[in-house]
């Protein structure tokens, strides 16, 4: 039986639902010799800011049970270097490119998004409204429905590209922010970004991260991410959702789709096994064939 893995997230069309998540796949090219980039549903870039950012002092990462904390601090080369040097090479692989946009101010989000939207070969923007590792901006926007709406609306006006808002889980109920993002013009939502956490080293009697607080990711966060996705799906049944959080096997990804996701992003698992996204893609394909589903539409939301 032929299986159709294409997905539509509003006006964003992807060849399949398995993407590499922002910040876990570099700018895409870093894995080109280890992963067949042409097969990915999309590559979400590391978040870009207007000027290059140095990021936080080390230590920036700490391993935790079935997960990890990071406080990279949005180190990146800046949007201009990406557009000039990386994008032309990345485009050649043919996978849809989604640029993750970050900023400290509303104006920075708008300026970065406007620059990206003028470049050739970008499929969509993902707004990082939820980075916990910035002193200013990022999660400040993401925890407020009002500020989220302002950023989404301003970027919507400045950039004519499909727009994904990435939500933070670091508030009790995500649905007001989700609703605000959609009302302001987001085509789709990614959820979740990392969860705030700390880790302590009992031997040195210090925090394990220089910034003390970091964002938790990895298999440990999956039930929380799935909970939020399921809740937002109930509140916004017509909004395309992208499930992110602790996905490392085909079943993990299928669980998100059963809960109502249109697509998934693979994050921390890329570090453990660079080929994870492609293994998951093959696994979803086999699952649909074995169980007699012609497309993901038949599967989506079956567990409600």
């Amino acid at each position: 039986m032929a299986v159709n893995l294409q997905v539509a997230l509003g006006r964003l069309r992807l060849p399949n639902p398995v993407m590499a998540a922002a910040g876990t796949f570099g700018y895409g090219l870093e894995y080109r010799d280890l992963v067949d980039l042409t097969r990915l549903g999309a590559i979400v870039t590391k978040s870009l800011t207007l000027a290059p950012r140095m990021g936080n002092p080390p230590p920036r990462v700490a391993e935790t049970p079935a997960g990890m904390l990071n406080a990279i601090g949005l180190q990146n080369d800046g949007v201009d270097a990406f557009l000039l040097e990386t994008l032309p090479r990345l485009r050649e692989y043919g996978a849809p490119i989604i640029v993750s946009v970050a900023g400290e101010t509303l104006e920075e989000y708008v300026q970065v998004a406007a620059k990206v939207s003028r470049a050739e070969g970008v499929a969509a923007l993902e707004l990082n409204l939820s980075c916990p590792n910035q002193a200013r901006g990022g999660m400040e926007f993401g925890v407020s429905a009002e500020l989220t709406a302002q950023v989404v609306a301003a970027v919507r006006r400045a950039a004519d590209l499909p727009l994904i808002a990435k939500l933070t889980p670091n508030l009790g109920d995500l649905t007001p922010v989700a609703q605000a993002a959609v009302d302001a013009g987001a085509d789709a939502l990614s959820l979740i970004n990392t969860l705030l956490g700390v880790a302590v080293d009992a031997q040195t009697r210090r925090f394990r991260l220089s910034s003390k607080v970091g964002g938790l990711s990895g298999p440990a966060v999956k039930p929380i991410a799935q909970y939020h996705l399921w809740r937002v799906r109930q509140a916004l049944p017509d909004t395309p959702l992208i499930g992110v959080g602790g996905i490392s096997t085909p079943d993990d990804a299928l669980e998100y789709i059963l809960l109502g996701a249109h697509a998934v992003q693979i994050g921390t698992a890329n570090y453990v096994q660079p080929t994870t996204a492609l293994e998951i893609l093959d696994g979803i394909h086999n699952y649909l064939q074995q169980h007699g589903f012609e497309s993901l539409d038949a599967l989506r939301g079956l567990v409600g």
Binding site: D33, L34, M54, P58, R60, V61
Partner: protein, 267 residues
Amino acid sequence: MSRYELPAVVVEHQRRGANLYELILHAPPIAERATPGQFVMVRAVRTHAPLWRRPYSILRANPDKGVFSILYSVQSAFTELLAMKRIGSTVQTLGPLGSYFQPVRAARRHILVAGGVGAPPLCFFAARLAPTLTPDEQLLILAGARRSEMLVGLDEFRALGAEVRIATDDGSQGYQGYVTDLLAQALDDALETAVYACGPNRMLRVAADICLSRGVPCQISLDAPMPCGVGVCLGCAIPVRTPDGGVWYKRACAEGPVFWAEEVVWQ
């Protein structure tokens, strides 16, 4: 850049010390391309705890036999899993990765400073360097550890004809004190020298300071928490000087692990 992600077959698993084990792995593409100072990212199991791969410096490589080896001591959940690997089983391996030690051709004496478990990449380096030395070039190994039984690679170094000087914190073998004291003494004469060091970062900092103050070229292999090993996660940031006098971060996994001492900013 040629690197490979593949299941390496365990061909030998040998005890090499009180709590020291050598895992010899068959993985021809990695064995053929491995250069001293480079490392592999090793995955012990498919489950989620421990989650990350671990970086291991390559201890030796035999391209003809398609094998290379890593050295570990059992001290964590991860290394307990490695210890259970039987001959014929596989270990998922990614490498060879990172920068490598570059022989300083102008030097008449090459000093390798090995601190405890930092010895493996220097064993590999010494093995490749020794056959290339001219009769007027010396190879001097300064090996340090907390206690005698924690010294690594002494037999290998001696088998290469290198002079080996030892320092232990407790005086159980050789000089009682830090291996960096031996380095300072060794640099007292006027020989044209190059230094290559691997060990705890605080030892490397002292070694770097000693070399820089005397104008001796020094390469150091730095350790950092390393989730990905291939430059994407930016977790293993090392502060370095930029040409304009500022500070920026390089990645221990990609631009490193071997850095020139003058480049690194110690914080």
